[in-house]
């Protein structure tokens, strides 16, 4: 009897638990009808979306397209509603195209098996570090003809043609947006540490030395980390490269170079690299401003730490401002974005971006349909009423869910399109631009020099540099030169194996 009773109680408890889990508030009036596996949302799409034309664009184009990076069920209602709104417009403009949402967020590890197995979404969004590898491995579709037919091929800047094309001039994707590395700021912690000037603005660092000093004040006054430094996997090396540039690891001290025989050489033991690593060491052992879990913190983790007020500064870019704010709950008014701090050897900032690419089995019609959808959402370089309405809808939804609405870092060679993007960002701005102007002005007025990534096997290079950083920040007596020499030898081994033999 006792056992039966216990069994019943447990069963009811599990049932209640499952019921609670299943109740995600997806019912009720105002729902947007959907097909396929798309979530149903109760939020209404922004009213700006109604300005997009629903006239038929191509009644004959017939295709089914799977679109990655569709907002998942757990995304904010405003974002889900926006995408559902776009899908309705797609259905009207291309009546014979079926859009299948895919909650797929690209990583190399998860894309490869899907691409090989024929289940990758037609559209996905890799960072600019990956297209050369994906193209060389035959893991993406050639969309040159579709881009030409759509009339956007001539708006590619030459550097993007090089990045997204092969040696035969074929193109395999298009740019989504660009990024410039800078620094995210949690203003609340600056305020708590008394680092606010007479204008009410945070006294943010301009140089790497000031980062150390500001971080120390924040640590002393708040007990929180001054700087979150993601030093797991490859992230530490990625950020370190930019720091090293600003210590002078460019030109004759470049981190990678070719000698007179054409052999690729790693140069991790130059004076600027050593000084940069001593700087990292000082951040940990002298100023003690780093987060304690640096060696296990990744990119997402760093945003988490800044957004939840466990650290005041984070080396991060303009394309990830949604992470600490809407993603982690930091109010937009408590957030700032500043230029990458200068060093004794210069003021450089890494620039990169995100691409739209196509799974290898995507055919011409599917590519055309995907481009049609990208035009609807306002990311292709057209300046017409529909595109402006889509941009306004996107900005409105971003504002509604607490993302800082900022000017773009241009991805297209089209002044009119860029001006339109800026105008929309101005119209929907939800931030005090004094907290962002320095960042956006720095690379237009020349205060900062933009640099792309080092030329060869950057992920492997970052991995080796990250290991060196991990050694330096976990062992107080670790020798900087030895760590860098070891990393250099290891990466040189790799280069010799892969390109110099």
């Amino acid at each position: 009897m006792k056992k039966s009773l216990l069994f019943m109680v447990v069963a009811i408890f599990i049932l209640l638990l499952l019921t609670a889990c299943g109740d995600n508030d997806n019912t009720g009036s105002g729902s947007i009808a959907s097909e396929g596996s798309a979530p149903v949302t109760t939020a209404a799409p922004p009213e700006e979306i109604e300005d997009i034309s629903i006239d038929v664009v191509d009644p004959y184009l017939t295709a089914t397209i799977t679109l990655g990076n569709w907002p998942p069920d757990t995304a904010p209602g405003a974002e889900l509603a926006l995408f559902e709104g776009f899908r309705e417009i797609m259905r009207a403009q291309y009546p014979n195209v079926t859009v299948v949402p895919a909650f797929f967020s690209y990583t190399l590890a998860n894309y490869l098996p899907m691409a090989r197995g024929g289940t990758a979404p037609n559209l996905f969004q890799p960072p600019f570090t990956d297209p050369p590898l994906l193209i060389s491995q035959g893991l993406v579709a050639d969309v040159t003809d579709a881009l030409a037919e759509f009339g956007i091929l001539d708006k590619f800047s030459p550097s993007y043609i090089e990045l997204l094309g092969d040696e035969n001039g074929r193109i395999f994707g298009l740019p989504r947006d660009g990024y410039v590395l800078g620094m995210h700021i949690n203003i609340d912690l600056f305020e708590e540490a008394g680092l606010i000037d007479e204008d009410g603005l945070p006294m943010v660092p301009r140089t790497l030395q000031e980062v150390a000093e500001t971080g120390r004040i924040i640590r002393e006054e708040t007990g929180r980390a001054g700087l979150v430094f993601p030093a797991s996997e490859t992230f530490g090396g990625w950020l370190f490269t930019n720091i090293a540039w600003n210590f002078g690891a460019t030109g004759e001290n470049a981190i990678q170079s070719q000698d007179e025989n054409g052999r690729w050489v790693a140069n991790f033991t130059s004076e600027p690299m050593i000084e940069a690593m001593y700087y990292i060491r000082a951040l940990r052992w002298e100023y003690d401003i780093l987060n304690a879990d640096a060696t296990t913190t990744d990119w997402a983790g760093s945003h988490n730490i800044l957004g939840t007020g466990q650290a005041a500064m984070n080396f991060a870019a303009n394309d990830s401002v949604a992470e600490p704010t809407a993603g982690r709950g930091l109010p937009v008014e408590s957030f700032a974005l500043i230029p990458f701090p200068a060093g004794p050897g210069g003021a450089y900032a890494l620039t990169g971006g995100t691409a739209f690419m196509f799974s290898p089995d995507t055919n011409h019609d599917q590519a055309m349909a995907v481009l049609g959808f990208l035009r609807i959402i306002g990311v292709l370089p057209f300046v017409d009423d529909d595109t402006v309405a889509a941009m306004r809808a996107g900005a409105s939804a971003a504002r509604d869910r607490g993302v800082p609405v900022l000017p773009p870092v241009p991805a297209w060679n089209d002044d009119e399109f860029i001006a339109t993007q800026r105008a929309v960002a101005d119209e929907f701005s939800n931030v005090d631009m004094r907290l962002f102007d320095d960042f956006f002005n720095s690379f237009t007025d020349g205060t900062i020099t933009l640099r792309g990534e080092e030329p060869l096997f950057t992920q492997q290079m970052y991995r080796e540099l990250t290991a060196a950083i991990q050694r330096i920040i976990t062992r107080e007596n670790a020798d900087v030169l030895t760590a860098l020499q070891q990393a250099q030898d290891r990466f040189q081994e790799f280069l010799d194996d892969e390109v110099n033999r």
Binding site: S232, E233, D293, T296, Q470, D497
Partner: protein
């Protein structure tokens, strides 16, 4: 023909199992061996290169480090993890009331999905002030400690977590073994004045020796293939201090270069080492039987 007819039903029953076994196990295994001798373009074979992949990885520091670490995992696993299930089985076996409850509690960690369990432990061992263990230590007046960022401690901690997860299931097997011991032996030993340690030494230990040997070799095989634990907890860091052979294989394949040839070579080397362990075990077993 008559013989075939006699066994046809048996073969027919086994056929689905054999097909599935071949498709999901033997074909990938043989493909992996084949791939290790080729230069690859993701999973396509491009060019036969003989032992080049093997020579190349033997020359790489990360392979040597991963090999050493994997043996370190194994040794720590034997030190920390081998006796725990035996003690658990003995304690639960001796429990008079609530035996079922304790058996369930011991087994529950095994039911948790592996990745979820590791994410949970990462939150526990976080070096930040928000780490669960650091919060508890804070209540005791002890400052935050770094755990997974310490090169010397990272492998024992990962092994400890693996032991927490796997010990319950192994304990159940030991309990089944212990249940097979004739209770009269214990009664006779007790009458002869044998205490608990003598009973364990002269009755329990010999009775579960063969079972223990088998489970030990299985434990070595399992820990030699450790991957997702360091992948989730440390990504192989700090400074490659926790990288294992299988994690290195993952890094080669998915870490940015799609080098499936070298990844397969690491897998083959790991398999050869494990084969060596198994052969040694078989030889030891045969000698023991001969000696008996």
């Amino acid at each position: 023909m008559a013989k075939f007819k006699q066994h046809a039903t048996s073969w027919f029953i086994m056929l689905p199992g054999i097909i599935l076994f071949g498709f999901f196990l033997w074909v990938p295994l043989l493909q992996s061996v084949r791939m290790s001798f080729y230069r690859t373009r993701n999973i396509e074979l491009v060019e036969f290169v003989g032992f080049d992949n093997f020579i190349s990885i033997f020359n790489r520091h990360e392979f040597r480090q991963a090999l050493v670490n994997t043996f370190s995992y194994t040794i720590w696993s034997i030190l920390l993890g081998f006796l725990v299930p035996i003690f658990l089985a003995l304690i639960i076996g001796e429990t008079v009331r609530g035996k079922g409850f304790f058996r369930t509690v011991a087994y529950v960690p095994n039911v948790l999905p592996g990745l979820a369990a590791m994410i949970l432990w990462r939150a526990f061992f976080s070096a930040e002030s928000t780490g669960v263990i650091n919060i508890l230590l804070g209540h005791l007046g002890i400052g935050p400690m770094t755990f997974l960022t310490e090169a010397n401690w990272v492998i024992p901690i990962i092994v400890l977590i693996s032991t927490w997860r796997g010990a319950g299931a192994t304990a159940l097997i030991y309990m089944a073994g212990l249940a097979g011991i004739n209770p009269e032996l214990y009664e006779a030993a007790t009458i002869d004045g044998a205490g608990i340690w003598k009973r364990i030494r002269y009755i329990t230990a010999p009775a579960i020796f063969n079972l223990g040997s088998t489970l030990l070799i299985l434990q070595i095989i399992a820990i030699f293939q450790i991957m997702y634990e360091p992948l989730v907890l440390t990504r192989g860091g700090p400074d490659n201090a926790s990288i294992s052979l299988m994690l290195l294989m993952w890094n080669y394949a998915f870490g940015g270069n799609m080098d499936f040839g070298r990844a397969s070579a690491v897998a083959v080397i790991t398999a050869v080492i494990l084969l060596g362990f198994t052969v040694l075990y078989q030889i030891a077993q045969r000698r023991k039987v001969d000696w008996d």
